[in-house]
């Protein structure tokens, strides 16, 4: 009987090919959509973590209240001691200090006169530390457009876009004008050793990367830092674990009465990322939910159409002695097979498209030209374990439910009308 049903499926394209195409297409779109949103979500977390928030961040309480102004007069002190303590208490995380600053970059001409001057956002990271992963974390080597990564003190990188705007020549000196932690004017000469494309519009518009010790010296912050960032050594943001660490750290080190005491925040506590991530998660579920509902309706309709097409066949089968239960079950078996084949095909194609988008992505540089959000210029999909079942299970269920609902008509059918139906 199974062979008989399979023959029917293979020969009747309306019964097999078209439903399989519909299921495959729906599952493909669901898989790609999910992988794409997943990629975006992960990129958002990753970009923010790498450039700004870390998976965890420590600042002084006072700095935190005015973090957007980068008030280095309220920065952390005795940073090495604190990092040592963090490494012992939370060894699964890599702890690193950074200084964020703003200032003016002055490009002199051959006579030492100002040729161009532009405001800049700066990030000082541990570039030369023995075990530092900051260069790798900021992907500096691969982001170099011209020149090379800093190899010695006072060498800096600036964004390529900024360098072009300032007519900066690689290897030439450049002057940073900023404010020291004591509130005085800080002036320091640097050599532009290279330009980079960060891949995040907000950085590419005008940012410089320098070594932490250079900026500690320039801004008069010995053993100080704007913030200490913690990165999960598995390179994975774990919201639950970070919350536990935050609570533990703050209960041990943070004092609400002391504005210079350290305060730990998770990635989600910063830049309204928590709300944003929740929003995207809900949005993802809503989009996929709507999509699946639409797919279910289409499949239900396909089932109904198939039921109408096969009205005569089902009548003959009833007359020849197949019970309604048996016919209903056979339709469910058929739809399970169709749903399975369609879902496997759709998932395979969806993963293939997602893999392509994971590797190459879509360039949205122009769209992000004026945005301040920290996200990549190239949006990429990301295949996760859920990508393998997010379309597959609903594809299979939608097919089965569609058939189950449309097949109920079989039970409503009057066998007494069969002869009359066959005459028409």
């Amino acid at each position: 009987m199974i062979k008989f049903l399979i023959k029917g499926l293979l020969r009747d394209h309306h019964r097999s090919l078209f439903p399989i195409l519909i299921v495959s297409f729906g599952v493909l779109l669901t898989t790609v959509l999910y992988s794409f949103i997943n990629g975006e979500l992960n990129d958002l977390i990753d970009s923010n973590a790498r450039f700004d928030t870390g998976h965890l961040k420590i600042m002084t309480r006072a700095y935190n209240t005015m973090a957007s102004q980068m008030p280095n007069d309220l920065a952390l002190t005795e940073v090495e001691k604190l990092i040592l303590s963090l490494n012992i208490r939370y060894p699964d995380y890599d702890w690193t200090a950074r200084i964020k600053f703003v200032g003016l970059l002055d490009v002199p001409d051959e006579n030492g006169e100002t040729k161009a001057q532009n405001p800049i956002f700066g990030l000082a990271v541990n570039l030369f530390g023995k075990n530092s992963k900051e260069g790798e974390r900021l992907n500096l080597a691969k982001s170099i457009v011209r020149g090379h990564v800093p190899e010695k003190p006072r060498e800096i990188l600036i964004s390529e876009e900024f360098a072009k705007r300032m007519n900066t020549v690689i290897g030439h000196p450049i002057t940073l004008l900023s404010t020291s932690s004591g509130g005085a004017i800080a002036v320091q000469n640097f050599i532009v050793c290279g330009t980079v494309k960060f891949g995040a519009a907000v950085m590419d518009r005008g940012a410089m990367i320098a070594d932490l010790s250079d900026l500690q010296y320039t801004l008069e912050m010995p053993n100080g830092a704007s913030e200490i960032l913690g990165f999960n050594k598995k390179n994975y943001y774990d919201p639950d674990e970070t919350k536990i660490i935050k609570t533990n750290f703050n209960s041990l080190f943070s004092n609400a009465g002391n504005q210079y005491s350290p305060l730990m925040l998770t990635l989600e506590d910063q830049n309204e990322l928590g709300e944003y991530l929740q929003y995207i998660t809900v949005l993802t579920l809503v989009i996929i939910g709507i999509f699946l509902a639409a797919m279910s309706v289409v499949l239900l309709n396909t089932g109904l159409m198939s039921g109408i097409r096969r009205y005569g066949e089902i009548g003959v089968r009833l007359a020849l002695g197949q019970s309604k239960d048996q016919i209903y079950k056979s339709l469910l078996y058929e739809s399970a097979l169709i749903g399975f084949i369609g879902s496997v095909t759709g998932t395979a194609l969806g993963l293939a498209v997602s893999l392509y988008l994971q590797e190459f992505g879509i360039d949205i540089t122009e769209t992000l030209r004026n945005t301040s959000i920290m996200m990549s210029n190239i949006i990429k999909a990301r295949i996760s374990i859920a990508s393998f079942y997010i379309g597959f299970i609903p594809g299979l269920l939608a097919t089965l439910i569609g058939t189950a609902l449309s097949g109920i008509q079989i039970f409503k059918r009057q066998t007494a009308s069969l002869f009359k139906e066959f005459e028409t």
Binding site: F4, R11, G321, S323, A416
Partner: protein, 231 residues
């Protein structure tokens, strides 16, 4: 019911409700059919012949009275039991053939045996034998859309006969056939009746069919008007 009585209908009534009113399609029908009869329910449209055929075929239940088919009361049959009875003991021939279009002639005839869970060898033997009975074994691999009307009805006959049912119910089996094909089909059915002792019951008002019947149960307005045996 005696051994030779395969069908016994007692005081059978069938009413159809039409809104708040009801329509009596069968009114106190009493008859019995013996094994191996070649008989017909004869009458004009609306006389109740198809309704009676439905009840004998366990496709419908009576409103009153009873129909005993092979010692089984149609009234007492549940849906699955009725399906089992049709599956095992009753063959149907329809006016419009109703072959499954995506299957070959062979597969169409094989279908009732699949429902009976016969093994492959038994199925092959039975199908080829049935196709030979109706003289269409050369068309075994054809699809229904490649057959003429007469050939299609022969396949339908083979499908009805392949499981060697005790009873074959035929509703206007020649209505869509020309005279030559009608006579061919009827001769085949007559031959099968005499060779296999299968009981044939026709519902018809076609004179060609009536001419072949050995018993005519004349229906009119839901009642048996006459019951004529021709020997």
């Amino acid at each position: 019911m005696t051994d030779s009585q395969i069908i016994k209908v007692n005081n059978l009534i069938k009413d159809y409700t039409m809104g708040k009113q009801f329509f009596r399609a069968l009114n106190d029908i009493n008859l019995s059919v013996k094994t191996g009869e070649f008989c017909g329910l004869v009458g004009p449209s609306g006389s109740g012949k198809t309704t009676l055929l439905n009840i004998i075929g366990a496709l419908d239940n009576p409103t009153g009275g009873d129909a005993i088919i092979m010692d089984k009361s149609v009234n007492a049959l549940k849906s699955k039991e009725a399906a089992k009875l049709r599956n095992e003991s009753i063959g149907f021939i329809f006016q419009t053939y109703n072959l499954l279009p995506i299957y070959t002639v062979y597969e169409n005839v094989e279908f009732p045996l699949l429902l009976l869970k016969k093994n492959k060898r038994d199925r092959e033997e039975a199908v080829m034998r049935a196709l030979e009975w109706v003289g269409i074994s050369d068309k075994a691999n054809s699809k229904p859309n490649q057959l003429s009307g007469g050939e299609s009805q022969r396949v339908a006959v083979a499908r009805a006969m392949v499981k060697l049912p005790k009873i074959v119910l035929a509703d206007e089996p020649t209505a869509n056939l020309d005279a030559a094909n009608s006579h061919n089909i009827l001769k085949t059915l007559q031959k099968l009746n005499s060779e296999l002792k299968t009981t044939f019951i026709f519902a018809t008002h076609d004179e060609k069919v009536i001419g072949y019947l050995r018993r005519k149960i004349i229906l009119g307005d839901g009642k048996v008007i006459d019951d004529i045996n021709i020997n």
